[in-house]
């Protein structure tokens, strides 16, 4: 379990992380979202003791990261896959990490195999690695100590489609075994597929957090009918505010069951009725972070 309480990190003249609190629960994958520069990476760096917080705490299974006797065995960390000595081979990087944790060397080979790096690739220097290969190496380093907690910053970056699928299965499997996973990503589709809980951060502040279902349910219902105007009218009659979108769909905050019931009494045949979660995460993300987006996207 990862617990972040009232975490604040100020730099001269600006606050990167502002009073952030959330919990990543065991057995669940927690997605950490936010626009560029929102404070995701800073928060993650504070969690693992690379950055000193101005105030507040971050604990892992109730302990400060710096107090863990051998952190690699308890927390797998991947913050930046490119942050490796370019002159070392992949295998050497894993060997150093494995030796630091006091693990048998056989573990290095297991990990190289697990992340699908070939033995020849493992012997090459990291300078010659593609981003995807560096990511795989970083994931291997994180998993080396067989930890119960994973903290991953943009782990899917640079992975090929098969790699992304593999990563998704890996993390879901890890969580289902009782592990805690905190991962940040810009790939909203990925997060939507994999995450159980979401934490959305914008300008250093938490703008939303909760289970994926809760947050996406708030995005409402999309309903289509052959006569959308009649449908919108019927909903209005029933006291449900709705908007008629240009593509002929009707959007409303009410849940699908209620919308269906209204359509039935009004005798309107529906062609589609679903909660808006399909496109929901992106919409939710943009609307929640609208104030903090660089592009000033109107949600």
């Amino acid at each position: 379990m990862i617990t972040v309480e009232s975490l604040t990190r100020r730099y001269a003249g600006f606050t990167a992380v502002d009073n952030v609190s959330f919990t990543a629960m065991p057995g669940r994958v927690t997605g950490f979202l936010g626009p560029n520069g929102a404070g995701k990476s800073t928060t993650m760096r504070v969690m693992v003791g690379l950055t000193v917080p101005t105030s507040g705490t971050a604990t892992i299974n109730g302990e400060r990261f710096a107090d863990l006797p051998n952190p690699g065995l308890e927390v797998g960390v991947l913050l930046d896959a490119s942050a490796q000595h370019a002159g070392r081979t992949g295998r050497e990087i894993l060997t150093i990490a494995s030796d630091t944790m006091g693990l048998p060397r056989t573990r290095v080979d297991e990990m190289i195999e697990l992340v699908s790096l070939t033995p020849t690739e493992a012997k090459r220097r990291v300078r010659n690695y593609s981003l995807g290969m560096r990511q795989r190496l970083g994931i291997a380093t994180a998993l080396l100590g067989d930890p119960q907690v994973l903290i991953l910053d943009e782990p899917a970056n640079g992975l090929d489609p098969a790699g992304i699928r593999w990563m998704r299965d890996l993390l879901t499997g890890f969580a289902s075994q009782g592990g805690t996973v905190l991962l940040s990503s810009h790939l909203l589709h990925e997060i939507e597929v994999i995450a159980d809980d979401l934490v959305v951060i914008g300008n250093g502040k938490i703008v939303a957090s909760g289970t994926k279902e809760e947050l996406l349910a708030a995005a409402g219902t999309i309903v289509r009918s052959t006569s959308p105007r009649d449908l919108a009218h019927a909903l209005e009659q029933a006291g449900i505010p709705s908007t008629l979108a240009g593509d002929g769909s009707v959007r409303t905050d009410a849940d699908p069951a209620r919308v269906g019931a209204v359509a039935l009494t009004a005798g309107i045949a529906l062609t589609e009725l679903r909660s808006a979660e399909g496109a929901g995460l992106e919409d939710m993300f943009l609307s929640l972070t609208a104030d903090t987006q660089r592009e000033g996207v109107a949600a």
């Binding site: 065991p26 760096r45 693992v48 003791g49 690379l50 950055t51 000193v52 990261f65 710096a66 863990l68 006797p69 051998n70 952190p71 690699g72 065995l73 308890e74 927390v75 960390v77 913050l79 930046d80 490119s82 942050a83 490796q84 000595h85 370019a86 002159g87 070392r88 050497e92 990087i93 150093i96 990490a97 030796d99 630091t100 944790m101 006091g102 297991e110 195999e113 697990l114 220097r125 380093t141 998993l143 067989d146 930890p147 119960q148 299965d169 890996l170 499997g173 890890f174 075994q177 009782g178 592990g179």
Partner: protein, 270 residues
């Protein structure tokens, strides 16, 4: 939180939450030693110590007049490249964590940065002592072989005390490099810094001592180069000379190192 299996691909069921023991310091030193030489640059620096020792010995044997074929001259010839390479090893051992960004992994695996730097310092010391031992050995073999082949008397004119001082002189150079690494935490800056404090600064201080008489008396107390050269010459023999060495070590190594460490421990690793 009982099972810790990562994926179906890893073998078997891992035990329930294991008892985690702290990382012993001896292990950290071993790791830091390994890290000094498992990169391409580190590997070649290690090789160059051996190669340059042999080359320097060979050069003395080939080019020096017969009367100069003596252990002292061979040792001096080897000593010069060593006094440049060893500080570089000390610098890169520290700065690569920042310049190559491997510190992100190092300091998440071992959050106590003081312990990591301590382990690096000890590893640097070991490298210094072992390299010097190798250099003396190569020089001795060269001296023996050279004088035998040329039919000269083998001259052993380096006292144990002088050898010890030469070792200490190199360790001082490494400590200066290490200090610059800790303070600057950037490979390029620290290497440039090293050449400034070891080649540019002494010239300025000597010049200053020549034009300002009050500084001439002060210089040996603050110029670490002066006391290092004394060590290389084997001339640190009086209490005053040792006091001067203590003074320059305090000013150029101890104080900046302590200040640098204080900053390093709280700095952000990015």
């Amino acid at each position: 939180m009982t099972a810790t299996i990562i994926s179906p691909d890893t073998i078997g069921a891992a035990p329930a939450r294991r008892i985690v023991r702290p990382i012993p310091t001896t292990r950290l030193v071993k790791i830091e030693l390994r890290k000094m030489f498992n990169t391409r640059s580190g590997f070649w620096m290690l090789v160059s110590i051996g190669v340059l020792s042999v080359m320097a010995t060979g050069a003395v044997l080939i080019f020096a007049p017969d009367s100069e074929i003596a252990y002292e001259n061979i040792a001096k010839a080897i000593g010069f490249p060593m006094s440049v390479i060893l500080p570089m090893i000390a610098i890169l051992g520290v700065t690569s964590e920042w310049s190559q960004r491997s510190g992100l992994t190092t300091f998440t695996l071992v959050p106590s940065r003081g312990r990591v730097i301590g382990a690096k310092a000890f590893a640097t010391f070991v490298v210094g002592v072992v390299s010097m031992a190798v250099a003396f050995a190569v020089g001795a073999v060269g001296n023996l072989l050279g004088s035998t082949i040329m039919g000269l008397d083998t001259v052993w004119d380096v006292s144990l005390a002088a050898a010890a001082q030469s070792l200490l002189g190199n360790l001082v150079g490494m400590a200066i490099g290490f200090t610059l690494g800790v303070v600057l935490r950037n490979s390029a800056a620290a290497i440039v810094g090293y050449f400034v404090v070891s080649f540019v600064l002494p010239g300025i201080l000597v010049l200053l001592a020549q034009v300002r008489s009050w500084f001439a008396d002060l210089q040996p107390w603050i110029d670490w180069n002066y006391t290092q050269v004394e060590l290389f010459e084997g001339a640190t023999n009086t209490g005053k000379a040792w006091a001067m060495l203590g003074s320059t070590t305090m000013i150029s190594i101890v104080i900046p190192l302590v200040v640098g460490l204080l900053f390093l421990r709280r700095s952000e690793v990015k």
